[in-house]
């Protein structure tokens, strides 16, 4: 962090740099818009990077099982933010590896949906809002992360990445994942959302003693006990919490390595 900049300024500047590198070095980009707090911050950062515009499509891979509040948010802000919104749907559950535990299988369906969308549009770069602090395997990610032809992640053979020099040449037919907010934490996201006045889905705020910390499919995402009904209160809650963010996401907890298996197969 440099003098004259606070922590959030430094995070923002780094993310803008990553966005601009991706836009300069890849030909066909899309931003994965999950409608959650992280991807809304990403869109905001993209607009900062490109002076009010998002110069690539916002892709929502829709499981059709999201909360109604999420669909309402999508309709409103895709227009208000002038996004080139592309909605693509996931295949039926039967098309997915039946050996996975139920919630993981449901999430793997999303991976299949993503693969279909990739084939359809031929994107060479997908911008995704994962963060290192979310989950141990995500901590090992690169900012520019090559994916195989099948969309898979080879954690054993990641190229070196240093000094903000990124590996941006995916082999023909493969693509890159770009992670502009990899270095942010959950608290950073909230503090920035508040500072920049970025709209959020109200499900994140507590109602009747419960709130969602992370939003996924309605049938495999559960609220956590909380009285935090404003962003300020969320920040206070996080300061004292040692409960992991994805505690309400069933797919992380079914087996020890369920999440890693998903990621190797191309899940975010």
């Amino acid at each position: 962090m440099q003098p004259g900049m606070d922590h959030l300024d430094a995070l923002e500047a780094q993310s803008i740099y990553i966005f601009r590198e991706a836009f300069a070095r890849l030909k066909k980009l899309a931003l994965l818009w999950s409608l959650g707090k992280d991807s809304n911050v990403m869109i905001w950062l993209a607009r900062k990077a490109f002076f009010g515009r998002v110069p690539f499509p916002a892709l929502h891979v829709d499981t059709e099982k999201k909360f109604p509040e999420m669909y309402a948010f999508r309709e409103r802000y895709s227009k208000e933010w002038n996004l080139d919104l592309k909605v693509d749907y996931c295949p039926p559950i039967d098309a997915v590896d039946p050996t996975l535990p139920p919630a993981a299988r449901s999430a793997a369906r999303k991976t299949e949906g993503l693969k279909l969308a990739l084939n359809k549009y031929g994107f060479d770069g997908l911008i995704a809002g994962i963060r290192r602090d979310e989950e141990a395997t995500r901590a090992k990610e690169r900012v520019f992360s090559p994916r195989g032809l099948e969309g898979g992640w080879d954690v054993r053979d990641q190229p070196p990445e240093f000094w903000d020099q990124f590996n941006a040449s995916p082999p023909p037919g493969a693509h890159l994942r770009i992670h502009p907010i990899l270095h942010w934490t959950e608290a950073d996201i909230w503090a920035y959302t508040k500072r920049e006045n970025i709209p959020i889905i109200p499900l994140y705020l507590a109602k009747n003693g419960k709130r969602y910390r992370s939003l996924g499919d309605a049938d495999i995402t559960f609220p956590v006990a909380s009285t935090a009904s404003t962003i300020d209160e969320i920040l206070i809650e996080l300061e004292g919490s040692k409960i992991p963010e994805r505690a309400g996401r069933a797919l992380d907890h079914e087996t020890e390595d369920a999440f890693e298996r998903l990621r190797v197969a191309g899940y975010l």
Partner: protein, 641 residues
């Protein structure tokens, strides 16, 4: 346990969410494989109260289920593959807090095979902890990591001597290791900030000075981390704004990039390197609002200039009087990660800031294994070794020696689209031309001034770009006739004509079009260097390709945009191409589609629908006079005719 950050009152948190006013330091833990890095990290998390609820219990349960004793390293080795092999293969990042710092801890693998991951982790760090097994002592990977820290520019290193329990907490053994590593690191200019005896497994020396190491009077690991300083300020150095991109989303032409050092403000007089063009900053742009005041190092900004200059990605903006040097030759100290050793003559892709250029390794000056005690020098730099090399660049770029500016004084080398090495710029030879290996160009017998005295002009490339039917060839022929009539030496290079011969092997794919333009530009630039005025008439629809042509011809390049309206071009249709394309029998034809990218900044723009051929050629001639190609006395002669 006295190092856990004190509870902060809620209202303080509101003002500074997640402790954002506390300095953040990023620390990498390095050292030989199995010397206990992951164990130390696990222990640190526990000692600072940073573990999520249930994490320790979950891992203990996993260990029990697998029938193995619990290890602190399991906390980090969350990946299945790592648990199975018992080694860290990639970096992991963990956050925790000490009394006065937010710490981002980067655990890097010690295994030689994963050095690229160690470098990925260490390059992000403000400080490092180098761990040494008390029983094994300093090993090759200890030395290698020490050397790489020095190369990566990490200036603060604390050394921990781990597994003291296995040497009965012997002060003597500790002293021997301390002296050996201190001498080694000091030799690299990297004196350790502390050398600490610990047992990561049992906790001695991590957060507390236990009775077993009562003889040790220095800081604990947590105290040593607390004393590391955050990244050093870069805003005191000279301004360096590498250009990431030029955006023209609306009527603004925004030059975007991150300020790597120094600061800038609207009104500043700047110079764009390597070309050396001067301009003033008109405005600093931003969304949702323009930022107020000066912007300094670390900020990603967008600026507009007070004049239309050719600026491209990879250029570096600096203040007049403190600009970086422009060069085609660099000497660098590098580390090499690719399995094929780097040898003299190797063709590489070099990245420095946002600049990318092809380059050739002219010479390998030193090549050593930093893990070995007695270095045997080699002629090529093997994987995981380091060396000093001389690089000759295909394009000039702006760079600083690393000692002057750590951000614009470092580079990476790419092989087959993948980063294969990196290093520090030791020196730049300003203004030197590239020296291709094994190619000995034969210099012309004539001096440039001999030719220009005869032709009364300097060499130039006049590049006519525009839609098919815009009048490029007609204009080129008129200009050729005019210059020849004045005693000059014009040479016409028509895109279609060259496609019949030199470029006969090329089609119309984007790659082939790019290669077509490159060859045209190389031939034209050669003619220009020998005093002729090469007049190129080529659609050249890609802005990027034309920018490449400009780089090749350099200061001799004069771009003329023949901006005849598209409907006029189609109605002329001199070669019948528009009709064929409309009929669907000619594919990939520029003009019908939307694939012509008009220039953003050219020396001259001409619409041939509103003037005669002779008037248009006259405009080009005047431009060539005003930009120093045609000599002034020629104007006088012309005026008197």
């Amino acid at each position: 346990m006295n190092m856990i950050a004190p509870t902060i009152a809620p209202n303080t948190i509101l003002a500074t969410p997640n402790g954002t006013t506390r300095p953040q330091v990023r620390i990498v833990i390095v050292g030989h494989v199995d010397h206990g890095k992951s164990t130390l990290v696990g222990r640190l998390l526990h000692e600072t109260g940073s573990l999520p609820d249930g994490k320790l219990e979950m891992l203990k349960a996993v260990s029990a289920r697998r029938g193995m004793p619990f290890e602190w390293s399991f906390l980090l080795d969350a990946l299945q593959t790592e648990r199975d092999q018992g080694i860290t293969i990639d970096t992991t990042q963990i956050r925790f807090r000490t009394r006065s710092r937010d710490v981002v801890l980067i655990d890097a693998p010690g295994h030689a095979e994963f050095l690229r991951n160690m470098i990925t982790g260490a390059a992000q760090a403000d400080g490092a902890v180098l761990i040494i097994d008390a029983l094994e002592g300093v090993r090759d990977q200890t030395r290698r990591h020490g050397y790489l820290l020095h190369l990566l520019g990490v200036k603060q290193v604390a050394v921990v001597v781990n597994k003291m329990d296995r040497v009965d907490f012997s002060a003597e053994r500790f002293g021997a290791i301390r002296d050996e590593i201190t001498a080694h690191l000091t030799g690299l200019g990297l004196a350790p900030t502390a050398v600490i005896p610990i047992s990561a497994r049992d906790g001695d020396g991590v957060a507390d000075r236990t009775a077993k190491i009562a003889w040790y009077k220095g800081p604990t690991v947590v105290e040593a981390l607390d004393a590391l300083l955050p990244a050093r300020p870069l805003d005191e150095l000279a301004l360096r704004l590498p250009v990431q991109a030029i955006y023209k989303f609306d009527d603004r032409r925004i030059v975007a990039g991150r300020i790597e050092s120094g600061s800038l403000a609207a009104g500043d007089e700047i110079v764009i390197m390597p070309a050396g063009k001067i301009a003033k900053i008109r405005s600093i742009e931003g969304w949702p609002a323009r930022p107020a005041g000066a912007q300094s190092a670390g900020r990603s900004v967008g600026i507009t200039l007070d004049r239309e200059l050719f600026v491209e990605r990879g250029d570096v903006i600096a203040h007049v009087g403190s600009a970086p040097r422009d060069t085609r030759r660099i000497r660098a100290r590098i580390f090499w990660l690719h399995e094929t050793p780097l040898a003299a003559g190797a063709s590489i892709l070099l990245r420095l800031g946002n600049k990318e250029t092809r380059a050739v390794v002219v010479a390998i000056e030193k090549a050593v294994d930093p893990g070995e005690l007695a270095s045997a020098e080699a002629k090529a730099i093997a994987r995981n070794h380091v060396g000093e090399i001389d690089i000759s660049l295909a394009q000039p770029l702006a760079a600083d020696p690393y000692v002057d500016n750590p951000r614009t004084g470092r580079l990476v080398i790419e092989v087959q689209g993948r980063i294969a090495g990196g290093g520090l710029v030791l020196s730049v030879d300003a203004g030197q031309r590239a020296v291709p290996v094994d190619i000995v160009p034969v210099e012309s017998a004539l001096r440039p001034d001999e030719r220009s005295a005869r032709y009364r002009h300097n060499g130039a490339v006049v590049w006519l770009t525009g839609l098919p039917g815009s009048g490029k060839s007609t204009l080129a022929r008129a200009l050729e006739r005019k210059l020849f009539g004045d005693g000059g030496s014009p040479i016409l290079l028509d895109g279609d004509t060259l496609r019949a011969g030199l470029n006969g092997d090329l089609g119309f794919s984007p790659q082939d079009r790019t290669e077509n333009i490159r060859r045209l530009a190389e031939v034209a630039a050669h003619l220009a260097r020998n005093g002729h005025v090469a007049i190129v008439a080529a659609v050249s629809p890609s802005r990027e390709d034309r920018a490449a042509a400009r780089r090749i011809a350099d200061s001799a390049f004069r771009e003329v945009y023949v901006a005849t309206p598209a409907d006029v071009c189609e109605s002329r249709d001199p070669k019948g191409h528009y009709a064929k394309a409309r009929a669907g029998v000619l594919h990939g034809f520029t003009g019908i589609g939307n694939d012509y990218q008009p220039p953003e900044s050219v020396e001259l723009t001409i619409d041939t629908s509103s003037r005669t051929v002779s008037e248009a050629a006259g405009e080009i001639e005047r431009m060539l006079i005003s930009t120093g190609i045609l000599f002034d006395e020629l104007t006088d002669v012309a005026a008197n005719i």
